[in-house]
Amino acid sequence: MAVEKMSLAKALNESLRKALDTDPKVLIMGEDVGKLGGVFRITDGLQKDFGEERVIDTPLAESGIVGTAIGLALRGYRPVVEIQFDGFVFPAYDQIVTQLAKMHARALGKIKLPVVVRIPYGGGIGAVEHHSESPEALFAHVAGLKVVSPSNASDGYWMLQQAIQSDDPVIFFEPKRRYWDKGEVDIESIPDPLHAARVARTGTDLTLAAYGPMVKVCLEAAAAAQEEGKSVEVLDLRSMSPIDFDAVQRSVEKTRRLVVVHEAPVFYGSGAEIAARITERCFYHLEAPVLRVGGFHAPYPPARLEEEYLPGLDRVLDAVDRSLAY
């Protein structure tokens, strides 16, 4: 076994290194990804080792980054592009939604678009405007895209390589406030499939479903609930499109209660989708309505207020209590 302890950031870096090493068609593109190694250093050292032809500093033009990545993919390359921060993906949103997502279908399946768009997302790092958002639902809503988010180093390592190997476009959301959290990575293990949810903690009284940055919060909430004698199961969804509803259903049939937690605004968010589907699938098993904990229908607030905005331990535990009270 080759188990190493490393941060999520390091795991992503190792993952990219492995992908560049294994497949000469893999390219890294983005703003500052070369010499600087990216503003979060996820691509640190890669240009030094693989050269400017493989790790490409681009002009500051997000539509251009994704649009040219599409062209490179059409030529047989597998571009992995970095969008510097969540709030800056929107100039590229047109290319992602109108072009990247649909081209495979429009060509009757004759061409493939293996493009990965990496987006550091979410709050909790005290950043300025446009550096803390969670736009995942905007992408998950679009057919033709796959949307995933690792919550820990091991998933960071494996899921990124799986995303790069996928012949579909994958929007890869990286929880930026977890970049420095360390975890064990077994670089020889056989990983879970990219879109399978994982039971992060078993429990019998209630299920907390989360992904990305909120998995850790939910694990802490489950530990706190345990002290009060409540057994809470935590599901790490890992993939927002597709969603592993079978795994959620299995858990809810056991616990009979579900709370979905994410940073993104609750309104029209992934929690709404999960609540609706699980209500349909588990109507006779549920003891309580599916509850949601997430952001408000308001712009992401200035950093001094983000602790109020982000779902923390207390808001999650409050939802657990409300569910159990039914």
Partner: protein
């Protein structure tokens, strides 16, 4: 550098006399021309071209057949066989000239009006009609003729072309890539970004802008204050304006730009100065925004007529050639008409086809639900018997 007369031209709607008073395109200083509207062969110091009589007849044939195909598609739209059609009438020289400059291994990124270029690539013209009939959103394999799908979102494809060209350069291949777009599209950010990317990466791409003077109802003056070809200068690569109704000049200029790309010297912007003779699409009514005298002025510059005059005056084509071509046009039109009418509606389940290359659980689930729903009608009608 002097800003030529087009930049100073006033918006047409402000004065009825403007278009009549306008200098003809052929007299504009920067316009590359090899065949005048009167069908006279002229020389240009930078763009010499020597074509055999057979090649000249070939270009004429391409333009005539493309125009006939286009007219047939317009008629099919009127007959309710197509939901929409974007006619290329008037732009045959720009498309056939540039299209015939391409090599098989070059790659084309068109917008939605490049029927003549598709013709040059050997794409079966009936394939172009599927999306206008509403049976698909593309309908051909882009790799079988190196002709990408039509792109509706204007300007998007210029970035795909640039990325593809970056890949060509990485592969060490000497193919070139060509991106088509309109004068309206030139205002889109993606086009500017593709200029930036192609310049800084020295990508082997030719930007072929068909300035047909109008973006639906908006004149070129609403897109730019300088002649479009001059834009390239600010990005660090050459721009050239060619008489877009002169098939020889379009061929020569595009060929030269492609060769430049192949030599590793990077992008070129070609502005083909032409005119859209018809409506923007079959849904458009150009009488609301442009005067008929403008169209008449451009009719005198018709790309097909001038080549015919040249062929006839030089004795390069006889009556039999023209008669034969008429017959060939009729056959093509008939084939297209029959093919469109025979085009089946897609199977209901096609909604779920090719959404993903690797599959997706939600698509599988919805496909199964929809299939069961559809089957319930069949069951119900069985029971009714």
């Amino acid at each position: 550098m002097t800003v030529e007369s087009t930049a100073a031209r006033k918006p047409r709607r402000s004065s009825k006399r403007v278009s009549a008073a306008k200098k003809p395109a052929s007299s504009e200083p920067q316009l590359v021309q090899l065949l005048t509207p009167e069908g006279e062969r002229v020389e240009h110091p930078d763009y010499d071209i020597d074509l055999s009589p057979e090649e000249l007849r070939g270009l004429y044939r391409d333009m005539v057949l493309t125009r006939r195909f286009d007219a047939e598609a317009t008629a099919l739209q009127r007959q309710g066989e197509l939901g929409l059609w974007a006619s290329l009438l008037g732009q045959e020289a720009a498309q056939i000239g540039s299209g015939r400059a391409l090599r098989d291994d070059d790659y084309v990124f068109p917008t939605y009006r490049e029927h003549g270029v598709a013709w040059c690539r050997g794409v079966d013209p009936t394939n172009l009609l599927g999306m206008f009939r509403g049976v698909n959103h593309g309908g051909w394999d882009p790799n079988s003729n190196n002709f990408h799908l039509y792109t509706i979102v204007i300007g998007s494809q210029t970035l795909h072309a640039t990325g593809y060209a970056m890949g060509v350069a990485k592969d060490g291949a000497d193919s070139a890539v060509i991106a088509y777009f309109g004068d309206g599209a030139s205002s889109q950010g993606d086009v500017a970004e593709s200029f930036t990317f192609s310049a800084v990466y020295n990508a082997p791409v030719v930007f072929f802008c068909q300035n047909n003077q109008w973006a639906i109802s908006e004149p070129t003056e609403r897109q730019t204050r300088v002649p479009l070809y001059q834009r390239a200068q600010g990005f660090g690569f050459p721009g050239v304006r060619v008489d877009g109704n002169d098939v020889l000049a379009c061929l020569a200029v595009t060929r030269s730009a492609l060769e430049r790309a192949r030599r590793g010297e990077g992008p070129t912007l070609v502005e083909a100065f032409t005119y859209r003779m018809g409506a923007h699409t079959t849904s458009d009514d150009p009488t609301k925004y442009r005067h008929d005298d403008e169209r008449q002025a451009w009719e005198a510059k018709d790309p097909i007529l001038r080549l015919r005059t040249y062929l006839e005056n030089q004795g390069l084509a006889d009556e039999a050639f023209f008669t034969e071509l008429d017959k060939e046009s009729d056959v093509l039109a008939k084939r297209v008409r029959e093919a469109v009418r025979a085009m089946p509606d897609p199977d209901h389940m096609a909604i779920f086809d090719n959404v993903y290359a690797d599959g997706h659980a939600l698509v599988d689930e919805e496909r199964a639900q929809f299939a069961a729903y559809q089957a319930s009608f069949a069951d119900a009608s069985e029971e009714g018997k």
